[in-house]
């Protein structure tokens, strides 16, 4: 075992922000979900006691009817903003004093960097190049992600959970978004910490071996099947997602509010991005399957 390699990757100044991101996401997820749990407990309490529901201020924050519902921006908000600006400035100063921005040798087209990695926030896309052809991983997939994100608010037909933390009232939506976010983070982690020369897989503890060769034979699903496996996958995954979306009484009520167009759009993005992408990654890693649909014009 040689942990020097992983230590070297971890301590590369450009990779430090990844640790910051992971730590930040972990902390704020905990922080947000803690507030969600408090709100969910309050919901149970108020559902059970209609009289209380009429009089309760319906927040988990301290409350007194005598308090003004609003406060002045100056000083109450501006002081918080000012404080935040100072803290961020100090943090950035300390970070910049402690860690130097990297500068490699001058650019040299004749000397290939191996591995040549994109900056960490794009390394997830680069990792996806292993599993998809460039036209899909580099162009179609990012477009789908951006379009899917933009459509996101228009696909969520539930008015519950607007403006407060809750888990129970919004399980389907939060699980969907969380899955996408997790895939993105996982691809960044694998691309940064695992991939070595030749974009080969090196576990932490392994040393980068620049002479390593991989004699892995990939295979495709038979071309004669055409789009059948893909279509079958869409139907099956769609059915599974439908089961998940209509699981509880509340889920079914929300589903009833969702229009056909909203639902089919949601299904398309959920199947493609949240199940299709990880499944294809799994097929590739576990069964060395490269293409699931081979045509004369493109392969998927």
């Amino acid at each position: 075992m040689d942990f020097g390699q992983i230590r070297e990757i971890l301590s590369a100044p450009d990779n430090v922000p990844i640790l910051g991101l992971l730590g930040g996401v972990a902390f704020f997820l905990w922080y947000g979900l803690r507030q969600a749990r408090a709100m969910d407990r309050l919901a149970v309490q108020l559902e059970a006691d209609p009289a209380l529901a009429k009089t309760h201020h319906r927040k988990t924050h301290p409350h007194d009817d005598a308090w003004e519902p609003e406060v002045l921006v100056w000083p109450h908000l501006l002081k918080v903003e000012f404080l935040a600006a100072i803290i961020v400035t100090v943090l950035l100063l300390v970070w910049s004093l402690a860690l130097n921005a990297p500068l490699e040798e001058p650019a040299n087209p004749n000397q290939t960097m191996n591995p040549a990695k994109a900056p960490w926030y794009f390394v997830g896309l680069q990792e996806l190049l292993v599993y998809f052809d460039p036209w899909f991983a580099g162009v179609v997939l990012p477009l789908l992600i951006v379009i899917g994100l933009m459509l996101f608010p228009y696909l969520d037909a539930s008015p519950l959970g607007t403006g407060y933390y809750t888990l129970r009232q919004r399980k389907v939506v939060l699980v969907s978004f969380g899955a996408g976010f997790a895939i993105w983070l996982a691809a960044i982690v694998v691309g940064t910490f695992i991939r070595g020369p030749g974009w080969m897989w090196f576990w932490p503890g392994e040393t980068w071996d620049h002479t390593r060769q991989v004699f892995e034979k990939t295979r495709d699903l038979p071309a004669a099947l055409g789009p059948v496996p893909v279509i079958a996958f869409y139907l099956l995954a769609g059915w599974l997602i439908h089961k998940f979306v209509t699981r509880t009484e509340l889920d079914r009520r929300i589903y009833a509010r969702t229009s056909r167009l909203q639902y089919l759009t949601f299904q398309f993005f959920a199947i493609t991005l949240l199940i299709g992408v990880p499944l294809k990654i799994f097929l590739r890693l576990a069964f060395r399957i490269k293409y699931v649909w081979v045509t004369p014009w493109f392969n998927l």
Partner: protein, 257 residues
């Protein structure tokens, strides 16, 4: 001093008073502060709701504009000088290294805070009616933030940036229809010398034209678009009735079917 004509012409409000009207006017009559309303929901000032991430992202953007403008004094976007300018900044310019570091790490930090801001907006359902469109604007801001970081990566003209951008733009070759290696690209007459990658780089390889293009996008194009969208974003926060919460709980039983 506060009685002079000069003072009164600049500050129209008597800031030493603490009554509500004066304090409201202090916000209203200040061009920077009037992004804000004069009052907000008392629970909305708690950092537990927004985590302050939108505001911190905006602040970091200002820091980046400032440090970036200073860097521009020392940097020439040419193959001959770019790398040397970075060396010069690091070794000779007073506080040059600190300046470069702050710009670099500020950019990384902004990517992180924008993502956390998005996460908060999701967790609080803040994108729901009537704020759907502001979310769309937000996604635009996210993409621009990433592109800003990416175009900046090439500017030191070192191996790191060169290969990252080479790898990144190589994907553009494979764009369907408009890339010379993409599906239906060759059939439509795409070659390495006229496809979308050529347009991005100003050439078929990452070279001096690419450096110049990255520079112009990084220092002018993207920041200007981002500022515009940021203006819309803040405007919409106000027009959509201020931030979304903390709002009172809506019970399941109160949702109309």
């Amino acid at each position: 001093m506060k009685k002079t004509q000069l003072w009164k012409s600049v500050f129209r409000v008597k800031h030493d008073r603490t009554d509500t009207r004066t304090r409201s006017l202090a916000v209203l009559s200040n061009v920077f502060l009037h992004l804000h309303p004069t009052r907000v929901n008392r629970d909305a000032v708690r950092y537990s709701y927004t985590w302050g991430m939108g505001g911190i992202s905006a602040y970091l953007f200002l820091v980046l504009l400032f440090t970036g403008a200073l860097l521009m004094f020392y940097y020439h976007p040419t193959k001959f000088q770019a790398y040397r300018d970075i060396l010069y900044l690091e070794h000779d310019v007073p506080f040059g290294r600190l300046l470069r570091n702050m710009h670099r790490w500020g950019a990384h930090l902004m990517v992180i805070t924008v993502w956390l801001h998005m996460l908060r907006v999701v967790l609080t359902g803040a994108y729901k009616k009537p704020r759907e469109f502001n979310w769309v604007v937000g996604v635009g801001l996210l993409v621009l933030t990433l592109l800003l970081s990416f175009t900046g990566y090439l500017l030191p003209d070192d191996q790191l940036g060169f290969w990252a951008v080479t790898v990144g733009t190589n994907m553009a070759r494979a764009t369907p229809l408009v890339g010379h290696e993409g599906p239906f690209g060759p059939q439509l007459g795409m070659t390495p010398f006229n496809d979308v990658r050529f347009g991005l780089l100003g050439g078929s390889v990452v070279d001096s034209n690419a450096l110049l293009r990255a520079y112009v996008w990084h220092c002018i194009g993207i920041p200007v678009i981002l500022l515009l969208l940021l203006g819309v974003h803040f405007w919409r926060v106000r027009k959509d009735g201020g931030i979304s919460g903390p709002a009172p709980l809506l019970l399941d039983s109160e949702m109309k079917d």
